[in-house]
């Protein structure tokens, strides 16, 4: 599709009037989706979609249109020209846009990820065979994803990758289940088999009578996956320049009252090690990293093109919500988690988080899947699901006892409209006095 996008772009740029600038963003996906329930196929299919966003700029005014592409140049050119005609009618009716901002310097780039994906039906055969006799529910999503940018100033960027995201849970009974994920770029039969074998071991523990915890404060270990759920909430306005300048960030106390997190907490947006394109929709190139919180102190924000223009900052992201968040590892080693926890709760997964008091970055949510009660360093039983309500200033601040040295790379399995290419690299966290309420 790279050549097709070049051809289409060239055609559209040729037809521009004097003084017009056109930004084009291409998005494409060729994906298989397989949904499993009771270790059998519930729904299976393929989605091929290609879209083009056109941003037409003239005399400091901007308007945009998005359309689906058919893959036939004559048809798509005509459709895009029709859209441009509609945009040209709109432009004179708009006032000048003081926050208009797009890359004027040319930075070309090409990234072609190699395709090492397995045949999806064979990968699924392996999964279903490995999970024979188990009650598995889950989803396979895999295939090619591509993004492109071109502008009439002469810049061209292309990013293509192939990946899979196999996400599943294996149920013992009721809501007692082990949640697992295998996502990446190359398939490994043995790795999958080890995962399922590990799940079978945990399932045995889930057969123990679940503990019913009373509301109160508990010593807990949050796996990287559980911490990721919390960071998804913090990322909802937490690190964006616009939300900081309009006092809506849940980290407002860090800015206004010099609140801080634990000295061992360092958070960054690690563009270089993420999987999103390095170019933005306005044509800017992202830096390798953006420091957000360093050793517990607020450091900086993510600024997209419009915010950067509005507040006089450098563009350092495509989205003001992190797409490649990293929390640096600490001193706690993976093998020492249970002994360090001693007696408390091993939280494998959290679920459906939301703010209960945004000003204090207080988050509520639920435990889910195989959360285990641990006594004297040994997991002894699952728990019935519990609601927590706790502030990030305590979880990653006063009550943080340690972060694991090892970090886990988590590839986002979400697929609203398109498959996501966001990711996070996070450690686990040992936390004291974690509050459960229901």
């Amino acid at each position: 599709m790279e050549q097709y996008f070049r051809q289409l772009s060239s055609t559209l740029f040729t037809g521009l009037a004097a003084g017009e600038t056109l930004l084009l963003n291409y998005q494409g996906e060729d994906s298989d989706f397989v949904r499993l329930n009771h270790n059998r196929i519930r729904q299976v299919g393929h989605v091929r979609q290609q879209s083009l966003q056109l941003d037409l700029i003239h005399r400091s005014r901007e308007t945009s249109a998005t359309l689906q592409l058919s893959g036939r140049l004559d048809e798509d050119s005509a459709q895009a020209q029709h859209a441009l005609s509609r945009l040209r009618e709109q432009l004179p009716l708009l006032p000048e846009d003081p926050h208009l901002n797009y890359a004027a310097e040319i930075h070309n780039s090409i990234h072609h990820g190699e395709n090492h994906l397995p045949a999806p039906d064979q990968a699924l055969e392996q999964l279903m065979t490995a999970a024979q006799g188990l009650d598995l529910a889950g989803s396979w999503a895999g295939g090619e994803m591509s993004r492109g940018f071109a502008n009439s100033l002469g810049q061209f960027n292309w990013h293509r990758g192939h990946n899979f995201n196999l996400d599943w849970s294996i149920y013992r009974e009721g809501d007692q289940a082990v949640k697992q994920n295998y996502a990446g770029f190359e398939w490994n039969d043995e790795f999958l088999a080890q995962k399922i074998a590990c799940a079978r071991e945990t399932l045995a523990l889930l057969g123990e009578k679940p503990r019913q915890l009373k509301p109160g404060k508990y010593r807990v270990f949050l796996t990287p996956g559980a911490l990721n759920e919390l960071m998804d909430m913090v990322s909802w306005g937490g690190f964006g320049l616009k939300s900081h300048r309009t006092a809506q960030t849940p980290l407002l106390k860090m800015v206004r009252e010099e609140a801080r997190l634990h000295d061992t907490v360092t958070i960054s947006e690690n563009h270089a090690d993420g999987f999103t394109p390095r170019f933005t929709r306005a044509g800017f190139v992202k830096p390798d990293q953006v420091a957000l919180i360093t050793e517990g102190q607020y450091r900086g924000c993510l600024a997209n093109a419009r915010s950067a223009r509005e507040y006089g900052a450098e563009v350092n992201c495509a989205s003001e919500s992190p797409q490649s968040l990293e929390i640096s590892g600490g001193q706690l080693h993976q093998n020492d988690i249970f002994s360090a926890l001693d007696t408390g709760l091993y939280i494998s997964n959290l679920w459906y988080c939301n703010f209960s008091d945004r000003n204090h970055c207080r988050i509520t949510g639920m435990t889910r899947f195989a959360c285990l009660w641990v006594e004297q360093g040994r997991p002894v039983a699952p728990i019935n699901v519990m609601r927590f309500d706790e502030s990030i200033y305590r979880i990653l601040g006063d009550c943080l006892e340690g972060l694991t040295h090892e970090q886990e790379q988590i590839l986002d399995s979400s697929s609203y409209e398109w498959r996501s290419n966001a990711s996070a690299r996070l450690p686990g966290a040992l936390v004291n006095e974690f509050t459960f309420t229901l």
């Binding site: 979609q49 407002l252 988080c353």
Partner: protein, 480 residues
Amino acid sequence: MLTDWQSIIDDFKDVVPAVEFWSLRLVHDETEMLSVREDVVQPPNLAQSRGAHISFIDRGGMSYAATSALTREGLAAACEQAQRWLEASRRHGLIDATQVPRPERSGHYATEVATSWDNWSLRGKLELLQDINRSLRISPAIVDWQAHLARRRTDVRLVTSDGVHIDQQFHYIIPGFAAVANKGAQTQERSGGGWGSARQGGLEQLAGFNFPDGARQVAEEAIALVDAPECPVASADVLLMPTQMMLQIHESIGHPLELDRILGDERNYAGTSFVTADMFGSYRYGSDLLNVTFDPGLAPEMASYGFDDDGTPAERTHVIRDGVLLRPLGGVQSQARAGMNGVATARACDWNRPTIDRMANLNLEPGSSSLKELIGSIEYGVLMDTNRSWSIDDSRNKFQFGCELGRLIENGELKGLVRNPNYRGISATFWRNLAAVGDAGTFEVWGTPNCGKGEPNQMIHVGHASPACVFRDVEIFGGE
């Protein structure tokens, strides 16, 4: 009609392979969004989505393919993809595809529009949004303010190999405004004018959302909330306004009653349900005052339609009557699997996703109490207005919800504002504490365009209409 579908259907019929059953769902969706933030007109966007969803059933297998390439070659390629997956489905399918019911009735549906989007010029719409911005910016304490107005049009045609032909044309209007007030490290947001919701219809629907007239009040309340005391910590009565009732219905009635959750399809993502198949017909879901309907015919509500996306005709049906659970929310596939009656709620968010069970319009029927009577029935409690936080467990039982605005009620009278009003409870017992249901005068049509579910994920619009309601002995609390 946005697209002439006939040539695409003709091309499809030329390339479709010989299978026992096929269906072709064609969707053309257009959304035009206008917004003004902090007095600055944001770049308008016209988003168009157009594509085909092909479903095959053949020799015990069932599969789909979706494509934006609506050329003969594109449709042929999609057919090949669907065929490729049929064999895996035959060998490992969960469902006996031969037992999947097929649509039988053709028909059409169209939203009634009194005032078309095009009746107002672009300049006029932007001026209105700029006026709203001026109404919101009433003090330096307002640190962010914005207003938007969008329209969405969706044309759907469903054609099957059995000769069924269904046309549906939907028009939505999506307005809203919000103001953010701040003092030090205390920030409060208040929204209105339909923010976070939408209605079917044209610009005539704006008045029902108090758009634009409610803008100044929204800003005043945001400022007042900054200095308001925290919501008290207590076990007390709550009076939930329709802007919160919609979320309460959505999370703790709608989702638990979805049949695909009960059948386990959603266990890896959206979750399961505390409701089990044996409860229908006898389980006491709430007090005698609780009457809940699936109502696809309430014209301005977001998920009104004539047919679901599997082609099943939609009819108003009680799912809870006098507090007793009667029927799940599930389309024909789930009904066949469970051996239960359901309702026409097999829906897809767009051409690129398959149908799954969704709740569509799910409404709480009005009772007999005026708003004054509802307030007068409360000795000590809090009125809560406009949802802003939602969290519930994967069985849809233990919940915690928060609102933008609270107002204390003492001895049957409204008192001052309280900020950060939250409450928590358990679905299985909460609805049994429903003590009073507002009359038709308190009944409002709301909903959300952002209900997430499914693998691959789908974000879809649902409607919830409700009166204001009173619940006894609820755990309430504020912030900090």
